[in-house]
């Protein structure tokens, strides 16, 4: 059995925020795939606010340059969503790899971000799409960059009375985009490392390159310096070798030389080369 708790199941965001501001040790419940596992291991809360009936934070909507992703969208819903597939393919692909079919039907992207596992598949794609998170409480709404929201592995800036309601991303239509991950087995596995990319090229030159590498550094990271240096550079062997070398140096600078790097570094190198060559 789970530890004892009382739950409320509000139908509207306003009701949910009112409950959160009035209850002391209340925990937000969405897909349950992380929270109930933690509760089985002994974490307990006096109150659970089940937000899954709030319809307006379940919707994915296209606003031209940006896309609003309701935090309650499940990984499955994102993986098959047409807007996401057209303008943020790496995110659709990454969400299609999360856990198993049942986990993808249950787990939500908002829950995934609040849990803030450094190996979460959605993180690298969200970073290349310059994701912001929207946090709402009874006192108001704030928006922050995803990179600032996640403070450390499993630690975010969310406050006790807040709900992460939306994630806003920039669409990248027309980019060559994708997500690759390396795992111990083909499915139902946690990423050992992952890369999301979106690349725009013209006439043999890189126009815009966005890369994010997951599970090599404490937080998935974007090698922005290298991205900038690739702008208007000829797409040739030498450019690619130099860029990949600089990214590897940056990873080692951030993480130090980890034991796993004997394996990971050559793999990241080969993946990045493939990706940049396209």
């Amino acid at each position: 059995m789970l530890p004892d708790f009382a739950s409320v199941i509000p139908e509207s965001k306003e009701d949910a925020l009112a409950y959160l501001s009035s209850l002391k040790s209340a925990k937000i419940f969405a897909g349950g795939t992380d929270l109930l596992v933690k509760m089985r291991r002994g974490e307990s809360y006096s109150h659970i606010v089940d937000i899954t009936r709030i319809r307006d934070i379940k919707v994915i909507s296209d606003h031209g340059e940006t896309i609003n992703i309701g935090a309650l969208s499940t990984h499955y819903e994102i993986s098959v969503n047409q807007i996401i597939s057209e303008k943020a393919l790496s995110l659709a692909q990454a969400c299609g790899w999360v856990g198993s079919p049942a986990i993808r039907n249950m787990g939500t992207i908002g829950g995934n971000l609040v849990n803030a596992s450094p190996a979460a598949d959605s993180l690298a794609p969200l970073l290349i799409h310059d994701a912001d998170v929207v946090l709402e409480s009874k006192d108001g709404t704030r928006r922050m960059r995803l990179e600032d929201f996640i403070l450390a592995p499993y630690k975010t800036d969310i406050q006790p009375h807040e709900i992460l309601t939306f994630i806003t991303i920039k669409g990248l239509p027309g980019y060559r985009e994708g997500y690759k991950r390396v795992t111990k087995r083909a499915a139902w596995a946690i990423s050992r490392l992952s890369i999301a990319w979106a690349i725009q090229e013209k006439g043999g030159f890189y126009k815009d390159v966005k890369l994010a590498i997951g599970s090599c550094t404490p937080m998935p990271f974007r090698p922005r310096k290298v991205e900038d240096s690739l702008k208007d550079r000829a797409k040739d062997e030498k450019t690619i070798q130099v860029a990949v070398g600089e990214i590897i140096d940056e990873i080692i600078k951030v993480s130090g030389m980890r034991p796993s790097f004997v394996y990971k570094i050559p793999v990241v190198k080969a993946l990045l080369e493939d990706i940049l060559k396209g």
Partner: protein
């Protein structure tokens, strides 16, 4: 305590559940549906799989209070000992059942796939059952059974 009103295997069902009660517990202990198994209890093995609105969910990580207004199916929906579903017949024919513990969940994952995809490839089948672990058969027989049942049943009619 919450009163839930949902459809279980085609029948409207009204039930009182505790706030902290899982769907797995409610099905087994209050509705006597023992086909839904408790395995790992942390959403990894798939023995507790049920279909909610025809999609596989782990009932061990689903609060019973969440299914109000939804459609829940367990393996009892597929058939009974007098009239088995073609998927169940195929599991017998191809030796896809040994200890049987994973079988209800495996059948539901397969049924959910066939509702969406009448002619799945082996890759589609493996993907669909990737969240259901079987420690006896090695999966080959299960994939064969599902592949052969696919031609025989019109699941979505």
């Amino acid at each position: 305590m919450k009163k839930i009103d949902f459809t279980l295997n085609g029948k409207q069902t009204i039930l009182d559940v505790e706030d902290n009660e899982t769907l797995l517990h409610a099905l087994r202990e209050k509705l006597d549906i023992k086909s839904v198994k408790e395995g790992c209890s942390i959403g990894e093995c798939g023995a507790c799989t049920v279909l909610i609105d025809n999609e596989p969910h782990y009932s061990c990580l689903t609060l019973a209070s969440k299914v109000s207004g939804h459609d829940v199916k367990t393996v009892e929906f597929l058939g009974d000992e007098n009239l088995l579903h073609p998927l169940q017949e195929a599991f017998i024919t191809y030796g896809a059942v040994q200890c049987g513990y994973c079988t209800p969940g495996m059948l539901l994952a397969a049924y959910s796939l066939l509702l969406k995809n009448e002619h799945p490839t082996d890759t589609d089948i493996k993907e669909a059952i990737s969240g259901n672990l079987c420690r006896c058969t090695g999966y080959i027989q299960i994939v064969e059974a599902i592949r052969n049942a696919a031609g025989l049943c019109k699941c979505n009619s």
